[in-house]
C-alpha cells in the first residue's frame, strides 16, 4: 500500500494501479485465510459461544476481517476511479487517505496477532 501511495505522489499512474491491485490481492488472501481458520475452528468444536476466549477471538478477529474486506472494496473502487479519471481533487491525497485507513487496520492486526495468537490464554 505504501508503494502505491509513493507512486501516486510521483504521479506514476501505472505503478499506483499495480500496487493497489497487489494490496487488494494480498488483503483477499488474508481474508481467505481467516475464512479457512474460522471454518476449521468451528468444525473442531470451537463455536462463537463455546467459551469466553472463543467469543473474544471471533469478535476481535471477525471485526478486523470485516474492516479488511471494507478496505479491499475501497481499494478496488479507488482503482476503478483512478482508471476512469473519476477521482475528485488530488489523486495522491485520495490514495494516501485510503492508505491511512489500510495501515490503521494493519496496526490493529499487529496488536491482535500478539495478544490473541501468541500470548497463551
Amino acid at each position: 500500500m505504501v508503494l502505491a501511495v509513493s507512486a501516486a505522489h510521483k504521479r506514476d499512474d501505472r505503478s499506483t494501479n499495480l500496487w493497489i491491485l497487489i494490496t487488494a490481492l494480498l488483503g483477499t488472501t488474508f481474508v481467505g485465510g481467516q475464512v479457512y481458520e474460522f471454518t476449521a475452528f468451528y468444525n473442531e468444536g470451537m463455536g462463537f459461544s463455546t467459551s469466553l476466549f472463543s467469543s473474544s477471538f471471533f469478535v476481535l478477529t471477525g471485526f478486523h476481517g470485516v474492516h479488511v474486506t471494507v478496505g479491499i472494496i475501497m481499494l478496488l473502487a479507488l482503482r476503478g476511479m483512478l482508471k476512469n479519471n473519476k477521482v475528485p481533487g488530488s489523486r495522491s491525497e485520495t490514495v494516501e487517505m485510503i492508505g491511512l485507513y489500510w495501515h490503521f487496520v494493519d496496526i490493529v492486526w499487529i496488536i491482535i496477532f500478539t495478544l490473541i495468537y501468541l500470548i497463551p490464554a
Binding site: 500500500m1 505504501v2 479519471n85 489523486r91 495522491s92 492508505g99 490503521f104 496496526i107 499487529i110 496488536i111
Partner: protein, 102 residues
C-alpha cells in the same frame, strides 16, 4: 495517461524511497518471524516482555514510516500518541476494576 490536476499541491515527494520502504517491510517480516519463534523456542521470563516490545516496535514502525507520521508535522504525532496513551490508560483502568492485575 496522467491526468493529475496541476493544483495537486500534495504531490511532492515525502517519505522514504522504494528501497527504504522495502527495507522497512523486511525488518517487519523479520520481527514477525521472531515473534512466531517464541511459540517454538522457550524464552523463559523474557517471553511476555519480548513479545510486547516487538509488538510496540512493529506498531511504531508502521505508524512512523508507512503512515508517514515521522515525516508529517509533529502535532500529528502528539495527537496520535496522546490518544494511544489515553486509550491504553483507560483499558488498564478498566482491567484494574476487574482485579485483572492481582
Amino acid at each position: 495517461m496522467n491526468t493529475t490536476p496541476a493544483t495537486d499541491s500534495h504531490a511532492t515527494e515525502h517519505g522514504l524511497s522504494t528501497v527504504g520502504y522495502v527495507r522497512i517491510a523486511l525488518i517487519l517480516a523479520a520481527i514477525t518471524g521472531l515473534e512466531v519463534s517464541t511459540y517454538y523456542v522457550d524464552f523463559g521470563r523474557l517471553f511476555l516482555p519480548a513479545l510486547l516490545i516487538m509488538m510496540a516496535i512493529k506498531f511504531v514502525m508502521v505508524v512512523s514510516y508507512f503512515m508517514h507520521l515521522k515525516f508529517d508535522n509533529k502535532v500529528f504525532s502528539w495527537l496520535f500518541y496522546t490518544g494511544l496513551v489515553l486509550a491504553v490508560g483507560v483499558y488498564c483502568a478498566a482491567l484494574a476494576t476487574f482485579k485483572f492485575f492481582g
